[in-house]
């Protein structure tokens, strides 16, 4: 199924057509797509959609996936409870 209405980034509910649009306008990296659409900014921080977005950039932008710059990965690796952070637990 490759419907334009399907969600590529489920956390932020970003549709495939939205992502395709910004890639066509020149967003040729995961960071650029993220800044424009919020894809990858949600709870899972792109763990689900990163590969899908890369594939779209590669297909539409005519690049190979290996050539794409890696996205900025920011800690934490998993969402951490604010309570743990406040207590100063070793969470990052």
């Amino acid at each position: 199924m490759r419907d334009a209405e399907e969600f590529v980034c489920r956390c932020e509910e970003v549709k495939r057509e939205t992502i395709e649009q910004v890639i066509k306008e020149g967003a040729l990296s995961l960071n650029a797509v993220k800044r424009l659409t919020r894809a990858g900014m949600g709870l899972c921080q792109g763990r689900t959609c990163r590969r899908l977005v890369s594939r779209l950039i590669a297909e539409i932008g005519g690049k190979s996936r290996e050539d794409l710059p890696p996205p900025t990965v920011r800690p934490p690796v998993r969402p951490i409870p604010v309570r743990s952070l406040i207590k100063g637990e070793d969470v990052l």
């Binding site: 960071n31 800044r35 921080q45």
Partner: protein, 405 residues
């Protein structure tokens, strides 16, 4: 064949992008050279706030006011993106009687400058933001203050500039400034040379390095701000930006004018070694921004560590301790992302705008600690300076020459 431009702007942040727009409306041949992507440093990772209550009398306040007006016009008539501009006001909340006493006197001074800020009592404060902790006893509230999405605002300026013919060269690093007989003649980049009579240094927290390429000393230093964002809260906040009242000293109680600004005052000949190194506990300035998506952006530290982009668990912990004292339901959510960025710091907290006498054609538009509050006005002023040799308002206060007295 060498590329040619009428103006080359170094830096694709909010200052470079807004200036590209203001210039491209007036003349052709505008090129922005950006090492990374548009808004990929501080312009893409700040709190997106147009403050009035933290502005200083003079150019600082005037440019913030003018920028606020311009954003309204830009959002309705120019931008093709929704920049999430909302004039819902900002609040500085407090708990103690001492804090209230100081803030009341600060507000009196600000009202004399015509800033529409007032002290609101506990009832009104909690009415304005029901998610606040019951211990909050009041706030200063300025309904004219606005917030926006800083990434989208930078992109909106860049797109508007491109519609007027400006060219953005992203992924292109400036490596040198070519000069001849005291005049700028070109810019060397990682992708080749561009011939140009004008270069604008809009490199934000990296402006000093760009100035050094032209053998100029520019005392703009990176100030690190650590931030985090939480998942959306169950109880949405009313989208007003909150600033935690800080501890007040006896000195501030006796001399409220000293509490007017958060700026660190240093002498004009200050260099890197003059920058204060303080314990982390004293570098925390609680700041909460409810975003349109429901996530809470929380800051901040204010540190001088060069260009070290690290985030420290201890800093985040201290920040969150202060934040949950303001909005207790934050205890129930998760932190999903953390980051640090650099805002440019100058000794008097004002930006650096204008020409330098040593090098004709070299202009500085950098050092904005509050670039979102100042960008549209900065852009108009410098565009007029370049095109008509006459800025629409005096820029002396922000002159690069003030560092040399």
């Amino acid at each position: 064949v060498k590329e040619k431009a009428n103006v080359v702007i170094v830096g694709g942040g909010i200052i470079g992008s807004s200036l590209a727009y203001s210039l491209a409306r007036r003349i052709s041949g505008i090129v922005v050279v950006e090492r990374d992507g548009i808004g990929s440093q501080a312009s893409g990772s700040n709190y997106g706030m147009v403050w009035l209550q933290t502005r200083l009398a003079g150019l600082d306040l005037m440019m913030a006011r003018r920028s606020l007006e311009m954003y309204e016009e830009l959002t309705s008539e120019v931008f093709d993106l929704d920049i999430e501009f909302e004039k819902k006001g900002g609040m500085t909340v407090f708990r103690t009687v001492e804090q209230k006493t100081v803030m009341e006197r600060v507000v009196q001074e600000q009202q004399k400058l015509g800033i529409p800020v007032r002290v609101v009592d506990a009832l009104e404060t909690h009415d304005l933001e029901p998610a606040l902790a019951p211990e909050i006893t009041g706030a200063t509230y300025c309904p004219e203050e606005a917030q926006l999405n800083p990434i989208l605002t930078t992109l909106a300026f860049a797109r508007a500039a491109q519609r007027h013919g400006a060219i953005f060269k992203t992924g292109t690093e400036v490596t040198g400034i070519r000069t001849e007989k005291g005049r700028v003649t070109g810019v060397l980049t990682s992708q080749g040379e561009i011939e140009t009579p004008w270069v604008v240094n809009a490199a934000g927290a990296w402006a000093r390095r760009v100035a050094q390429m032209a053998f100029l000393e520019l005392p703009i230093f990176p100030q690190r701000l650590q931030s985090l964002v939480t998942e959306p809260l169950a109880q949405r906040l009313l989208h007003r930006v909150l600033q935690g009242g800080r501890m007040v000293s006896q000195e501030e109680i006796d001399h409220p004018e000293k509490a007017l600004s958060f700026a660190i005052k240093l002498s004009p000949d200050a260099d890197e070694k003059s920058l204060p190194v303080e314990p982390l506990e004293d570098c925390i300035f609680p700041f909460l921004k409810p975003t349109r998506s429901g996530n809470m952006v929380i800051g901040t530290t204010s540190e001088f560590v060069g260009h070290d982009k690290g985030v420290l668990p201890k800093a985040l912990s201290l920040m969150m301790q202060r934040a949950v004292e303001i909005v207790p339901q934050l205890k129930e959510v998760h932190v999903i992302r953390t980051w640090a960025n650099f805002v440019p710091f100058t000794f008097d907290s004002l930006p650096v705008l204008g020409r330098v006498p040593e090098l004709e054609g070299f202009l500085i538009a950098a050092g904005h600690a509050h670039a979102m509050s100042h960008a549209p006005a900065t852009a108009e002023a410098l565009a007029e300076l370049i095109v008509n040799n006459q800025p629409p308002f005096p820029l002396e206060e922000a002159s690069p020459l003030r560092f040399r007295q």
